[in-house]
Symmetry: C2
Subunit: 320 residues, 2 copies
């Protein structure tokens, strides 16, 4: 078969890294760029990686989706704060069978996409990776890299693992990415939030790195309490959507995550980097949407809500 | 009768202001000073006040309580973070009938004082005042000034209003201070915490003045939620200590305080000033002690607890 054709919508750290991996694996990849368009057109993309550097001297670079062909897979790698741009951005490249794959952080973003996505399949990829863009077309991959892929369903039920999902997973694997698939994307998102809610949120409010947070007994205790609220919300969300199916996170997840965080290298979270760079924070995607789901499931989650209020106020100072 | 003799333990903004008022009213006042001792010995105390400036060219200044005579009333105006010093500081000046009057912020501080206070009466004064020390022996009184006096009881029951309490209130009144007395000091402290917990705490965590907090919709909502937790804790604390006596705060207190805060001049809270000056924060007095009381009364107060954790972590950066 011919290679699948991908469009990378947003060639930042995440889009640049995974797009480069996909191209390395043999896929045809079209990159959407804004301010780096000239450099990347001329010089391609370079990845400096803990797993071995590699360079793609020639890539399909685009300053607009209007110059792209229709693609098999649209990879959304914008910040979620840009999602209002998606309908216009994607209109030129969506064929009737195009798959939409979002690599974005957060929760339930896809609930708003039916108006432009229609009945096209929507997949989500959870990226467990530390990478930064350190220059035009230059990605620094510092650690990890694993991707977990799953299928979104508008009714929020587990979708199972389709052959299409497996084929896309294979493209990532061919590109050297450790990849897994999950039959329950929503639960996987909850699992990632168990870490992201305390550590992304508190890193900004407390102006701290992961080791500073985990090393402070009060912040560690607060992180654990926030994690407990997320696990509770996940369980009640599962019970609301799929009664009696025991759709919930494992008991020992929190202690495992705390232990792991205590042992990993000091790390500036993605939200802290956004904050330090003066970029809008992904408050609704990572905090507002899960909080709504918690409330719908009858879980109060007062600490998540307090963090949400604090981050909204901080974000208001950034975006005005 | 002869004038009562007062010792002011800690001649900062609060001790300096109210000590000067007491002396102005005719009381004999002995001031404990540390680094300002030389200047105040030579030049006395000056108050620049919205209610009219006044100067006391001659005061009894002391570098140690060892040089003070025994006094009728010891006025504690140290930061609560210094309270471990009290037993040694007060030993020279406590007579058998000396009254202890604390003007400190916070809650239930007196519970630890029995070992050195013995059976002496303990009064608390809640100071509703904006004042700063702007130089050695120089106090700037910016706004308000009202004091509410009440008697502490070790069993935490309402103490009523003794003639001794009224006599001390009269000394404040003679000094030009608007003063009231309350039969229920504990409830009065809860009432003050309804404002102090959200606005002192969030001013530090969010790095904001009162008008910035009340002007942000998320912080205003969070402040209201914190206030609700304090009011709930106060009610359940009253129910635990005095069952069936309806010992609780008025229903409309929160909306009144929010409205008042929205209308008052922009204000940097006392905890924010401590933070900006790199001084230890009164976290246990204002947050830890009421939180313990809330938990004892079966109230979870998750937002107060979260604020406590955040402030403990911030304070740890200050005190090391």
């Amino acid at each position: 078969m011919t290679a699948r054709r991908y469009a990378i919508i947003g060639t930042g750290a995440i889009g640049g890294y995974y797009g480069a991996c996909l191209q390395r694996g043999g896929a045809e990849v079209h990159f959407l760029l804004r301010k780096d368009f000239e450099e990347v057109s001329a010089q391609g993309i370079t990845v400096k990686s803990v797993q071995g550097d590699f360079a793609l001297p020639k890539v399909y670079a685009h300053a607009s989706t209007a110059t792209m062909p229709p693609v098999d897979v649209v990879v959304i790698a914008l910040k979620t704060t840009q999602n209002h741009l998606l309908p216009d951005l994607l209109q030129p490249i969506l064929g009737p069978d195009t798959v939409i794959l979002t690599l974005q952080n957060g929760f339930a973003l896809e609930d708003d996409w039916q108006p432009w996505a229609g009945s096209r399949p929507i997949f989500g990829g959870l990226c467990f990776v530390c990478c930064n863009k350190i220059g035009p077309g230059t990605i620094h991959h510092l650690d990890y890299g694993h991707v977990l892929l799953g299928e979104y369903r508008a009714d929020h039920q587990p979708a199972g693992v389709s052959s299409q999902l497996q084929a896309i997973a294979q493209d990532f694997a061919d590109g050297g990415v450790a990849v897994d698939v999950t039959p329950d994307l929503r639960l996987a998102r909850w699992r990632k939030l168990v870490w992201n809610i305390p550590f992304n949120g508190l890193s900004v409010v407390m102006n701290a790195t992961t080791n500073e947070m985990i090393g402070d007994p009060n912040i560690r205790q607060l992180a654990e309490q926030l994690m407990t609220e997320v696990v509770t919300a996940a369980r009640q969300d599962g019970e609301r959507l799929s009664p009696g199916q025991n759709r919930c996170l494992p008991e020992n997840l929190i202690s495992q995550m705390l232990e792991h965080t205590a042992q990993m290298s000091p790390y500036r979270t993605s939200m802290k980097i956004d904050f330090d760079e003066g970029r809008p924070l992904e408050v609704e995607a990572i905090f507002g949407n899960p909080l709504k789901a918690a409330h719908q499931a009858g879980v109060e989650a007062p600490r998540i809500e307090m963090l949400y209020h604090q981050l909204k106020a901080i974000n208001r100072r950034i975006v005005g």
